[in-house]
Symmetry: C2
């Protein structure tokens, strides 16, 4: 296993320590509950936003904590849901008078943990609601889900509800915006290689040198089918067609286009994919109003990419362009 | 070869097309000379900053073009210096009345191309100077250099001279700042895996499953030695010690600390490395005043990382914290 790791059981905690050390003024790491929170949370004048998931998807979600996005993220171990009591403690730490919105990518383990934490928090009198994200068009049910999976499109929900909360919207309004963004967001990804969890030390699945997994899940779970490796043009077209035809997006639509790397694909290739996707959308009369290229929701060191589209209207565009201050920056 | 690529000979041009399509308001792609420039260049009220290098190191340098950093980047093909006449044409396109500063990572091919372009531009009456960057402490001379190589520390030179130029400094002053930043910047990297150039289609070198290349170059060229894979603690200590002992950095110094991914290493591992490096510096009495974690100068899909330190003073800190607007963003 070619990784920067000490004891694999410390992988997540040492990553979170590094994250907090790199952001001493803005983030706080609480090792007892394995969580990252804004140093200034709770802010009583705004709804608090919390997201959790397994680790291994960074920057989701521990690296999107900050002004204008999450108030806290409570990750589990690699590819494992956080314990319900850790989620509950996270809510306790950031609960504000205006309430708490819990964001959950639709996986069975995460749903159970968050629903239990929501009940416990409500019993404490916290004003809390939960919103499930399910943007992945690849498969209907899957290894870890009933219904569709939540993947990179999650970023747009976090960004929009984070902006709305920062503007002072109440919990119902923030929830409405999150549901709305989720309803117009669609994603599909593909793997060129498998990923290797630190504790396992070997690839999660076998993928021959001439094959790709089309519609792969972000835990390496199966997608639509195993295919032969083809040209970027052809593979990107399959992703774009699947995403466009699902909502469906139509000629005249204005969209945000995200090309998300799954962890092991260099940014040069992601921009190449972006260019192809952008031109394929133009052929269909779909205009890109805002672009996102980089890593947003990964699967450890998996080589691969996903394509996400969001149908923009003035409200969503406006929320997406609000400022945010999170750890991921280059200067 | 598991990559998103069509014909490998179109890899660079299709990446640059994607980059320009994703940034239509701020960047311009000029295919004749394979260059990316600011849409508003030349700005006659400021010194123009140009950097070139082989491709495959993205985001360096085509993705650091923008307000507060580069005015143009003229990349060559993958791991190949740009032709001298393309560099010359780049200077022609962005030359301003205040002059042009050429930034060159110290590799023989790049030096030759930029020195020739500088002469041709001077003959045209352009006020142009060149600055060489050589932050890599791994080896003295190397496969492609006389003297030390320029690697990820290059980012700090670009950022500081870009900020100084934006503030209106003249060419001599911008050059002075660049030399100063380079003189207090040191880097060393290591490879966990080799990288695969699209046109070659197979790894550039062999690296057994239990081995790493300590001090690797960003074109896969040899470093100090081949070693056994060890714990992150031990490997990071070797990088930090090599960098600290070179300048040397001393107790009481305040530094910028960059952990740079080489293309195939996930950001979770980079934050783990950051935390270890941060603590090792604290043991030596060296304070981190500013942190950078992510990809800044890569080697295609190579798994690995480098550690860079910059000794900060008020002038450098101030320039590094000036705003910049480049393609790499997450919202």
């Amino acid at each position: 296993m070619k990784k920067f790791v000490n004891d694999p059981k410390d992988y997540v905690s040492q990553m979170l320590e590094g994250l907090a050390l790199a952001n001493p003024d803005t983030l706080r790491y609480v090792p007892e509950y394995n969580l990252i929170m804004r140093a200034d949370a709770p802010r009583e004048d705004k709804v608090s936003i919390v997201q959790g998931s397994g680790s291994g998807h960074e920057p989701a979600h521990v690296m999107t904590v900050g002004k204008g996005m999450l108030d806290a993220a409570c990750p589990g171990d690699v590819f494992a849901a956080p314990p319900a009591d850790y989620v509950y403690e996270t809510v306790r730490l950031v609960a504000s008078a205006k309430g708490v919105l819990l964001l959950v990518n639709n996986y069975t383990g995460d749903r159970m943990a968050f629903e239990m934490a929501e009940e416990l928090s409500q019993a404490d009198g916290v004003n809390v609601r939960t919103l499930f994200i399910d943007d992945d068009v690849a498969v209907q049910d899957s290894t870890y889900t009933v219904g569709r999976r939540g993947v990179a499109g999650n970023f747009f929900v976090m960004k929009a509800v984070g902006a709305a909360a920062e503007r002072g919207a109440d919990l119902d309004e923030v929830h409405r915006i999150g549901e709305k963004v989720n309803s117009v967001t669609r994603t599909m990804g593909m793997a060129l290689t498998a990923c290797t969890p630190p504790a396992k030390g070997s690839p999660l699945f076998e993928l021959p040198d001439d094959s790709v997994e089309m519609g792969v899940g972000i835990h390496g779970e199966p997608g639509r089918r195993r295919e032969k490796l083809r040209s970027a043009d052809e593979m990107v077209r399959e992703l774009v067609d699947a995403v466009v035809d699902d909502l469906p997006f139509s000629s005249g639509d204005r969209v945000a286009l995200m090309v998300n790397g799954l962890g092991g694909t260099p940014i040069g290739e992601l921009y190449l994919v972006y260019g192809l996707a952008h031109r394929q959308l133009a052929e269909r009369g779909i205009e890109v109003g805002r672009s996102y290229v980089g890593e947003y929701c990964t699967s450890l060191d998996m080589a691969g990419a996903s394509v996400t589209l969001v149908r923009l209207d003035d409200e969503i565009f406006d929320l997406l362009t609000d400022p945010a201050e999170i750890p991921i920056r280059v200067f």
